[in-house]
Each structure stands twice: as C-alpha cells, then as structure tokens.
C-alpha cells in the first residue's frame, strides 16, 4: 500500500504544479495582467503604472515571477479581493459552507436514487424499466441545468408556492427547518444530471459483477436473490463508484456553480459570478485554483479510500 499511495501522492503533486502553471498563464491573459486592478483607476498615468510594475516585480522574467507567485500561494498568500480588500482565502472560506451543503445533499440524493435505478436496471435488463431509465438518463443529461432550475422555480415557487425561489435561508430565521426548506429545490435540480450519470455507471458496474462466479456460487448455495444482491453484488459494484465519485467532482462542482447562480445560493459559484461582474481578478483566480486543487485532492482521497476498502489493492 505505501508504494501505491506514495506514487499517487507524487502524481498529485506533479499535477498541482502543472495546474498552477495553467493558472499563472490565465492570470497573465487578463488584459493588463496583474496590474488590471490599478489600470481601472482613472487617475493613473502610464508612468505610475510602470513604476507599480517595477514595484510589483513585473519587469522580471516570467519564470521568476511564476516562482514568486507560486511560493506565495503555497504559504497561503493568495492576494486580496479588489472589492473589499479581504484576503482571497478568507473570502472563499466564507462561501465554502453553502457550496458543500448543496453538493453534499445533492450527492446523497443522487447516490440513493441512482444506485437503486442502476441496480434495478441491471437485474431487470432490457425491461420496460431499463429502457425508460436509459432514455430518461440521456434526456436528463441533455437538459440545461440552469434552465431546469428556472422550470423548477416556475412550477414550485411561482405557481404552487411550495418552495422558496432562492437564497439559503430567510433573513431573521436561522432554523434548521428553514435551511432545509431552501435546500430542497436546488438539491433536486443539481441531482438531475448526477442521478443520470450515477445510475448509468451503477448499471454497468452491477452487470460486470452479476455474472461472475462468486455470485453464481452464492445462488447455488441457495441464498435468496435479495441476499445475493445485498451481500455479494451491491458491495462489489459500489467499489468502482468511489473512484467515479472522485472523477465526477469537477462536474458536480461545475453543476453546483450553475445551480447557485439560478438560486442566488451564497456559495462559491455565486461568488465566482459576482467576482466576474466586478472584475475581481484575485478572487476569480483564487476560485479557479481552489476548485482545481479541490478536484485533485478529491481524486486522491477517492483512491486512498478504494485502497483502504479493497484488499486487492491494500495488500497487492
């Protein structure tokens, strides 16, 4: 196990370095580059800008600038927001909870529903249910998430008045129930695509397991079909799903961003959009890097969990 994990850790580190290079390149694509903040000030002359550029070390060779920038990132100095001068990491930190809440509830919902659909599709292969689920998943993957959010708001908020159309809680009412009430619609909207993906993977993973010898043996022993399924099939089919969950992380994160923008959900996605509106480049850059780091860590974590759960990898 240590060799395998060390190898994965090393790969993740290499990936982080390349991700930071891409991030640095994007930073320098910004019109005005890192000076953009000051270029917006009408009182700035070209001389002032040149002086600032020298002060900020922008006249140095690019590799030196990169090392400087990456070094600061490493010690947690991600710059300050243009909007309120707060450190970028603090600003992001204030919005993490909302995003994780949404992603968590949606992921739990999609795993529950998707697993059920996937297993049923595999055990009743080519049945009416299976066909409906297959076509349904393809359509679900084709519906724009933000538009599905609009439809949800139209039906459940505007017409039926059951659910709030946005925000994470009613101001002045911080009760758990109030949070939950606001969480329902965005979670369902975000889950649409995730259920579709999860159920397709679960179906094929179950099919991979269901025809293997140990399942036949379990049946031959006279176990009930239900017991075979619960004890022998599901556990083994879920194993590749852990890796999948890690791989799907960028998609879920992106979906959360989309959902947040429609529901004015105060998470990282909303923050990203607001920062775009203000040309708040340090925060935009910060979120870009932060999400990539999150994805790399998520994948690493998934691999570690698989290694811990699967004796073939742990001992092999």
């Amino acid at each position: 196990m240590p060799a395998f994990l060390l190898n994965r850790l090393w790969q993740s580190l290499v990936l982080l370095v390349i991700v930071s290079i891409i991030g640095f390149t994007v930073l320098n694509l910004i019109p005005g580059g890192p000076l953009a903040q000051f270029a917006l000030d009408p009182g700035m002359t070209q001389d002032d800008l040149d002086r600032l550029a020298r002060q900020m070390g922008l006249d140095r060779p690019l590799p030196v600038q990169y090392l400087d920038w990456a070094g600061k990132m490493l010690v947690g100095d991600w710059g300050n927001s243009f909007r309120d001068g707060a450190p970028v990491l603090d600003v992001i930190g204030r919005h993490i909870f909302a995003t994780f809440l949404l992603m968590g509830s949606s992921t739990a919902l999609s795993i529950a529903i998707g697993t059920w659909i996937g297993i049923r599709g595999a055990t009743h292969r080519y049945s009416g249910f299976d066909y409906t689920a297959t076509i349904g998943a393809m359509i679900a993957l084709s519906i724009p998430t933000f538009w599905f959010g609009l439809v949800g708001i139209y039906i459940f908020s505007l017409k039926l008045g059951w659910l709030p159309a946005g925000n994470m809680y009613t101001i002045g009412d911080g009760s758990v129930l109030n949070y939950l009430h606001h969480l329902i619609l965005p979670s369902i909207v975000l889950s649409l695509v995730n259920v579709a993906i999860w159920s397709r993977y679960m179906r094929s993973a179950t099919l991979d397991v269901i025809n293997q010898d140990f399942v036949k043996t379990a049946r031959a022993k006279g176990l009930t079909e239900r017991r075979v399924l619960m004890k022998h099939v599901v556990g083994n089919a879920l194993l590749p799903m852990i890796t999948l969950a890690g791989m799907q992380l960028p998609g879920i994160l992106g979906g959360a961003l989309v959902t947040e923008t429609v529901f004015t959900w105060p998470g990282m996605g909303r923050l990203f959009l607001d920062s775009l509106g203000y040309s708040d480049y340090p925060v935009i850059m910060g979120l870009l890097m932060f999400s990539a780091i999150l994805v790399i860590l998520g994948n690493l974590l998934a691999d570690i969990v698989v290694a811990l759960v699967d004796p073939r990898i742990r001992l092999g």
Partner: protein, 293 residues
Amino acid sequence: MTTAAVPSAKPYRWWHSRAVRRFCRHKLALTGMAMITLLTLACIIGPHVLPYDMLYIDLRARFSPPMTGDHYLGTDPLGRDIAARLLNAGRISLLVGFSAMLLSTLMGALVGVIAGYRGGLVGAALMRFTDAFLAFPSIFLVLALAALLKPTPEMITIIIALTHWMEVARIVEAEVRSLREREFVQAGRMLGLSSSHIMFREVLPNAMGPIIVAASLTVARAILLEAYVSFLGYGIQPPLPSWGNMLNGAQQYLAQAPWLAIVPGVTITIAVTSFNFIGDGLRDALDVRSDHM
C-alpha cells in the same frame, strides 16, 4: 493463358457497411438524426419564410404569448418575434457547437497522437498537462476566459474547444500507444515513411471509432456550455441572438412571460438530446467500449 474469372466482387459501398446498418437499426439515433436535420433545415430556411425579422421591434406587441397573430412563438420584452430569433439563434448555437467540436477534436487528436507515438518524456508531459486541464471544472474555466477575452462567437468557440480537447487526447493517446509496436507500424518505418505519415495516415484511422463518438457528445456539451455562458451574459452578445442569450432575461420575467424561458429551453434540450442519441447510436454501431454509458 486465360485470365482467371474474377469473382464479381461487389464494389465497396460505405453505406452497406456493418456500422451503417447497425446505426440504422438504432431507433434513438435515427430519431436524433431526424430531429437535428429538421432543426438545421428550419434554422437555414426559417428566417427567410417567417413574417418578421429577428431585429424588428414591435412595441405594441411586447410580451405577446405564443400564437398571437403572426408571432407564432410570441414576442420578447422588446416586442421582437421569438420564432425569428430562435431560428437565427439556432444558426449561431449549432455553428458554435459544431465548430467547437471540430476544433477540440483536432486539438485532442494532435496532442494524443504526439503523446502516444513519441512516448517517453514528451508523452508523459503532454498527458500530465491533459490531466491538469481535466482538474479544472470546465464551466469555471470557460466563464473566466469568456469574461476576460472578447466574447465573439469565434472566441466562444475557441474557448469551449480549449476546455474540451482532453477526452479525445486521452482516447487517441491510449490507442496510439497500443498500436505503436504493431507490425504494420514497423513495416511503415522500414519503408522509410515519415513519422507524421505513420502517425496520421496509418495509426490515427484506427482510433476513428472512439474519436467520432466523443466528437458527437462534444457537440452536445458545447451547445450546453454556450447556452449557459450566454445565459449569464458572458457569451454571445446581443443583438446577435443565441439560444443561451435568449434565456438571459427569462428569469426576470418568469412569472409574467414563462414562454421566454420555455421556448429556447425546450429547443436546447431537443438539440442536445438528439446529439446524445446520435452519440449513443454511433457507440453501438462502431463497437466502442465505453465506461460512460
């Protein structure tokens, strides 16, 4: 000596091939094909036939619901005909989707072939670069780039392509790496063919199946992404219509004019579903093993 009777070999016809026959048996894929053909034709012909121009502002008919007078799909907050805008928008959205697919497939194939054929340090570096791009949620990257750069349709196409070449690159790299040591490639080398000839003329065609499937799904994703970015106002800029920017004001008027949201949204869903159906049919027809579906 008489010439041996040549068995009357049927001339090769691509439409008789196994893949085409299997594709034609795939009902969903055929439905998708039919819908995309219809939609494309409507977008090409429609704007010439409809009674209103997409930019004509009919102030007395603002917020007309569908089927009022000649406004078959109603009008928007400025009194412009939605049907005319929808079909003109379709030209742009479909074009962006197709061009982004072509561009990203080209980029992916290029990176994949070079990484797979060269192998070694260059190959490893290219593939780590590919992995790194995959770590960014593509929506974040597309939005950031669209906000930073000038969002013309061309630029949006390039940005979407820039964030979607990775899958093809991975497919091609794996395929090329496994083919690199095969006899026909060694034979090519012995014949003195150039590396680029071997890579692009001999090896790459073997990876065509997975590439085509990935490409058809990329069109679907590109249309969705364009719609989202334009919906937020960072994509295709008005007065040029796109399916996404038609939804731009829809949330604001959701209560009084729901058709503003429904018409473009349903159209996007139909187009994207069709491409996903086609992709599914191609996967079956071309025998592409995929872990995705």
